[in-house]
Structures are given as C-alpha cells and as structure tokens.
C-alpha cells in the first residue's frame, strides 16, 4: 500500500530505518489461509505500530540476474524491534510486548530491480 512519506524513514548508510503508522484502518481476514485466498469476507480492523531497524550486524552487496529476481544493491543486516497494537470492532485484540523479541530477519538497503537492473 502507498504510505505517507513521513511514515517511513530509511537510512541505508547508517543501517537504520523506522516505520510508524497510527490508527490505520485495515480489513481483518482472521487467518493466513483466508488472508491469502479470501474464503470469507474480512471484518474491519485498526492497527498502530512502530517498527525500528538498527544495530548493523553485517553488510553485503547483491547482484541477482535470475529472471524471477533481477535485483541488486547494497544491504545492511540489522536488528529490529516491533511495537504493535491491533483492534477489532473497537476491542483491543493484541498488544505486543517489548520483551522477548527476536529478529528472524532484518535488512536495510539501497536497491534497484527490474528496469533499473543493468543489462
């Protein structure tokens, strides 16, 4: 989805980024299969979140000419932290904890793909 430019800040050189949105209206599909295939209609939901990328652990350059990828760039692997709240019909249905989070994958980078991929 297109987002306001002020909602996201990405600084590949510093290996930092943030993404913040407040009270964003979204349809809630309830489960992953239903989210993918829309067997049943969603119900209205709202979310607010803060996502932070920081703490570079490594850097690498990528050039992938595979026709199903065609992308390249310079990337920093980072740690991440998520603050997330979600509401269903006015009821708070989830609030994340700051403790016990694990970054499965975190990346900040500058990239080019498709028509911007050289060659």
């Amino acid at each position: 989805m297109r987002i306001p430019s002020g909602a996201a800040h990405i600084d590949p050189g510093a290996g930092k980024a943030s993404f913040h949105m407040e009270d964003l209206a979204i349809p809630d599909y309830g489960s992953i299969p239903n989210g993918l295939f829309h067997f049943a209609p969603p119900i209205p939901g709202r979310v607010s979140f803060d996502i932070e990328w920081s703490g570079v652990t490594s850097r690498n350059k990528v050039r992938n000419p595979d026709p199903m990828q065609r992308f390249g760039g310079e990337f920093a692997s980072t740690r991440t932290h998520v603050t997330w709240r979600g509401w269903n019909g006015g009821t708070l249905v989830f609030e994340s904890s700051d403790d016990g989070q694990a970054t499965v994958f975190g990346q900040v980078g500058q990239e080019f793909n498709g028509a911007f991929f050289p060659g």
Partner: protein, 142 residues
C-alpha cells in the same frame, strides 16, 4: 503477514475452489498477522489484516508493478519473496531504499497471551508505474 508460519505443504484448498495466477500484490499487498500459540502454524490466528490491491491498482494513478515473486501456495503464485530469500521489495522496476523485517515475539491478546511473527517492509524511491511513467513514492507491506 509472515508466511514462515504457514505450513504450505499441509494446506489444501477447499474442493472446487478456483485458484488462478493470483498476484500477491492484488490480494494482499498489505498484510499483518499475529499467531496465537507458539508454532501454531495456520491455527489460532488472532488477527490477520490485508488491503486488497485490485481496486487500488485499477483506480489509482501510479500503480506499481509487483515483483515476479517466488511463492506458490495451492496452485496460486504470489508476487513476493520470503524474508531473506531474494528481493525484499514488493515493487518492481524500482530504484530506492528498502527496509524489511521478520520479527517474532510475544504479547497480550483479548483472552490471554499470544505470540506473533511480523513480516513488514517499506520501500521509498523511484519506480516505473504500470502505465510506464516514472514516479516517486513510499510503500509499505504490512
């Protein structure tokens, strides 16, 4: 949403369901899921949100082209790559900044403790839209 939690090989669509070549972009450009219970797979989801892109792509000037993608589920192809597996942008013909995360953790739900696994991404920069025009914008995969 985090597709790491979807047990792809175990998911079978309902008999008679018609799955064509579906663009993840069209169906779920913006998704977020919280999974109830550790390693719950597809079960016990508390909240999964999405913003279908079909209407936006048809009516909004500057609609971007989705990446080719590498995910196939139940005969449907989705135009996105898993976290850490290839291009993390969901926008193709794109030149700019990207940040992506797959973060796991815990939290409080309406009826008790829950775990979550969040795949969220942002992209900001230049892109060529479906009409071939150069554009500049920020996008979020939620």
């Amino acid at each position: 949403m985090s597709l790491h939690n979807l047990e792809l090989r175990r998911f079978t669509p309902p008999v008679g369901a018609s799955f064509g070549h579906r663009h993840f972009w069209e169906r779920a450009i913006s998704r977020r899921t919280f999974i109830a219970g550790a390693a719950a797979g597809v079960g016990g989801t508390a909240l999964l949100a999405g913003l279908p892109m079909t209407a936006m792509a048809k009516t909004t000037s500057g609609a971007p082209r989705p990446v080719p993608g590498s995910i196939d589920v139940a005969g449907s192809h989705f135009h996105i790559n898993l976290p850490g597996a290839g291009d993390q942008s969901t926008v193709f013909d794109f030149n700019g900044f990207v940040a992506a995360t797959d973060t796991a953790g815990v939290g409080k739900g309406e009826f008790g403790d829950l775990t979550f696994d969040a795949d969220m991404r942002i992209m900001e920069g230049e892109y060529i839209d479906l009409a071939g025009r150069h554009q500049h914008a920020a996008f979020g995969f939620i």
